[in-house]
């Protein structure tokens, strides 16, 4: 396997989607190749950083609207509950 081929298999490798034979050849290549080892590490790091984006804040206006919508929903539910007394 050349590096040019190996880099195109990286996503399949990380997903566990390579055949056993391909995975073995892929890992053998990595053992002897600093370039591909570094490239795979960069892809893993990229994925890690992407995973942290989920913590970014919601735009304030949208968050306010959502909170308001939730409150409206909850108050209409409470009205429903107190109207029917099957508790």
């Amino acid at each position: 396997m050349t590096c040019r081929e190996v880099v195109e298999l990286m996503t399949s490798y990380l997903d566990g989607a390579l055949s056993a034979a391909d995975r073995m050849r892929f890992e053998e290549h990595l053992t002897g190749c600093d370039g591909c080892t570094a490239y795979l590490a960069q892809l893993r790091k990229t994925r890690e950083i992407l995973g942290r984006l989920a913590d970014e804040p919601v735009p304030t206006a949208l968050e306010d609207e959502l909170v308001q919508a939730f409150r409206n929903w909850r108050s209409t539910r409470n009205e429903g509950d107190s109207a029917g007394t099957h508790r």
């Binding site: 040019r4 997903d15 989607a17 370039g35 490239y39 590490a41 939730f70």
Partner: protein
Amino acid sequence: MLRVAMTYVRDPNIAEDIVQETWLTCLRRLKDFEARSSLKTWIFGILINVARARQRKESRVIPFAAVLSRLDDAIPRPTVDQPRFGNDGMWRAGPDSWEGLPESTLIGQETFGQVRAAIDDLPSSQRQVIVLRDVVGLDAGEVSSMLRISEGNQRVRLHRARAAVRKKLEEYLR
């Protein structure tokens, strides 16, 4: 959720409507949630349906675009600039190691800004997959099913998207 919504509609205001409608739908249907999937999967499944419906309402071009994306997935294309490899197919000069970089840089606001910009530059079909897989954390089966594409298609898009984001990050971190 906004980012995923915006892969279906261009107008950010409509995208916000989609997100709000999704939350309302989730609240209404929460009592019927049977925990067959994770809550995250369930919420995003609803988001995608709401986004699709709104997209159909806003424009008639879309189904053709979906076909084009799938055809494009089938065209093999290298994701690394070819001049980086020699005639023997091996790296001329390997990529840098990011191990030596301070964690505060890699997980800093500026880096996040670069990554967000990189995601926004992706074609929508790739952006959908990388956001659902890597930002939201859904698995390959869930994402393929949600987007109604094969796992193979999904993997091609993820591969291209990750490579593009990695490349932008590499340029920024040099």
